[in-house]
């Protein structure tokens, strides 16, 4: 019997010829990443008597969730992480200046097709866009991984979203994944591996694919793959000197379910508080007046997201009652936005450009919301209290929709500005 991408990677990593959904395997980890959570991971690591990480070349540590540190308490966390990096023998460390972990890890060439990657962050599914099996784990499990280089996995069933059709201008992969969440619910991929296939998936840029794989976590997914193709390899060639080998799922691989999605004529989509699968096409949304708008995060903080926002903001200004935060996902994105003149567009429009980081998304840093305030954001979660007050509301949308809404002071269709 043939194997899916998840099965192939787990078989290889656990030294088996073949694995089947439902089996438990112990797999060797190719890459482990911790952000600020290392401060807690290292407590468990030490309490179990471990001293050094199993392989200094296979561990990456980043600071991104609250950089630069907003409070003394978070400064203490950062101080501890920096010390842990040295004490545990960790070689790859990216500090406050670099950006959001998932973007930086990819840009620095750590994420390659076929690799098994775990990280202390739920949106680790992002790496599936490059054909890597990325998944989030907790602090205790990470302590185990850092000491042993191994972790148990249940081989997941694989489901397939076959995406066809062509997207209209200013309708993006974010709208596609929100539409999928709305149609199939936040549990459609619970414990499962996703493969995004079909012509529309193949036509997506690597950045757009990363948005889909990132948000797949919100569908419950363990992994969220795009088959690594020529485009993937071309993208990665500039980032790594490692040999790159394309690999595909087998023709006779077994899929638990295949969902067919046609994106022709798809409208911009909005996820309404407080769940990611509470989604409406923008034409069906009632009037939502906003106080804040955010372009950024590991979901939509890449150059194409900033370009889409800038194309709408060019020659226009943010509504006087709205703060627009623009947060490039990495230093590299920031530099490209600077070189191509996008940052001038944002400044001219009266947006606030923040340093590459998670920004307000995680709810512990800049741009927090007061009670009763409403925000439209290109991020991945709209949970209660996600971005400040429990009494604030966050609506999820593409960066184009966020930019258009920032101008109007309410959530509007970006296609009005085409």
């Amino acid at each position: 019997m043939g194997m899916t991408l998840a099965e192939k990677i787990l078989a290889r990593a656990s030294g088996r010829d073949e694995v089947k959904p439902g089996e438990f395997v112990t797999a060797r980890i190719d890459l482990a990443m911790c952000h600020e959570a290392l401060g807690m991971v290292s407590d468990g690591f030490r309490s179990a008597g471990a001293k050094k990480v199993w392989d200094s070349d296979k561990v990456v540590v980043m600071l991104d969730h609250y950089v630069p540190s907003p409070t003394v308490k978070t400064a203490e966390v950062h101080k501890k992480v920096r010390k842990d990096v040295k004490d545990l023998g960790i070689k790859h460390y990216y500090g406050e200046s670099e950006g959001v972990c998932h973007q930086v890890l990819v840009e620095k060439g750590h994420v390659l097709p076929g690799r098994l990657v775990v990280a202390t962050d739920s949106h680790t599914t992002t790496y599936g866009a490059l054909g890597a099996a990325g998944t989030g784990i907790g602090f205790s499990e990470m302590a185990y991984v850092l000491a042993t280089g191994e972790l148990w996995f249940r081989v997941p069933e694989t489901i397939r979203f076959e995406i066809s059709g062509a997207l209209s201008p200013l309708v993006t992969s974010k709208d596609v994944i929100l539409s999928i969440a709305g149609t199939y619910s936040s549990e459609v991929a619970q414990y499962k591996s996703i493969e995004f296939t079909g012509s529309a998936a193949q036509n997506m840029t690597v950045a757009s694919r990363m948005t889909m794989s990132n948000m797949a976590m919100e569908l419950g997914a363990k992994f969220a793959f795009f088959e690594p193709d020529e485009q993937t390899l071309t993208y990665l060639k500039g980032l790594t000197r490692q040999p790159l080998t394309p690999f595909k799922s087998d023709r006779d691989a077994l899929y638990e379910q295949t969902y067919r999605v046609d994106v022709t004529g798809l409208e911009p989509q909005i996820a309404i508080p407080y769940s990611v699968d509470n989604v409406k096409p923008i034409s069906e949304l009632e009037e939502v007046v906003i106080n804040q708008a955010v372009v950024g995060s590991c979901t939509n903080g890449r150059l194409e997201d900033l370009q889409a926002a800038a194309s709408i903001l060019k020659g226009r200004a943010v509504h006087p009652d709205v703060r627009l935060l623009v947060i490039p996902a990495s230093k590299s994105v920031y530099r490209d936005a600077l070189k191509s003149g996008l940052l001038n567009v944002f400044l001219d429009a009266n947006a606030i450009i923040c340093n590459p980081s998670c920004g307000p998304c995680f709810g512990q840093h800049m741009g927090q919301l007061a009670a009763g305030e409403t925000c439209v954001a290109s991020i991945n979660r709209n949970f209660r209290g996600r971005m400040g007050s429990d009494e604030a509301k966050v609506y999820l949308a593409s960066s184009a929709t966020v930019a258009a809404s920032a101008i109007e002071g309410k959530i509007v269709d970006p296609r009005n500005f085409a």
Partner: protein
């Protein structure tokens, strides 16, 4: 972890996310203070009144959202006996086992229990029984590998054994 656990039911709905279980504002507090914010946005009484051994019964997708293991840590610190849900989000499920917090999946769980019910769970058998009734409700037992880790008290005791053996 004992296989049998008995306690009073606290009922919650679907999609109880980790940001609600341990609100961000409590994350940088010491555990004794952080735990007092557990589930606060949707039930401010919970952290104050929950008793050791009490059982949370919830709908679909319990623990969805971030990988913050604080969600499990806080529930354990409050000495919650077990979580019963229609389904669990993947990372929460793993984190619970990694910390030895008993969990049980029962399809359509909320229809069997009311707030305040006295219930006994047999985690090994995957069953729940009202203490005044004889017939247990059959849930989905944990796989043997998971049960073994749960019985050890989680993944760190396993790591400790491995480190010692080196």
């Amino acid at each position: 972890m004992a296989s049998l656990t008995r306690g009073k039911v606290w009922k919650f709905g679907d999609n109880i996310d980790t940001d609600v279980i341990t609100p961000t504002k409590g994350l940088s507090l010491p555990l004794d203070e952080m735990k007092m914010h557990t589930l606060e946005p949707i039930n401010p009484r919970f952290a104050k009144e929950v008793q050791p051994g009490d059982i949370i019964v919830s709908g679909k997708n319990f623990g969805c959202g971030s990988s913050r293991e604080t969600a499990v840590t806080a529930l354990k610190a409050l000495k919650v006996g077990a979580i019963v849900a229609e389904s669990f989000a993947r990372i929460f499920f793993r984190n619970a086992i990694a910390q030895g917090l008993a969990i049980l999946t029962i399809p359509e769980a909320p229809q069997y229990f009311e707030e305040g019910d006295e219930v006994e769970l047999d985690i090994k058998a995957g069953t729940a029984r009202h203490i005044n009734q004889e017939n247990p409700i059959q849930g989905i037992p944990l796989a043997p590998d998971m049960l073994a880790m749960l019985e050890k008290g989680g993944i760190l005791p396993l790591l400790q054994e491995r480190v010692k053996a080196l």
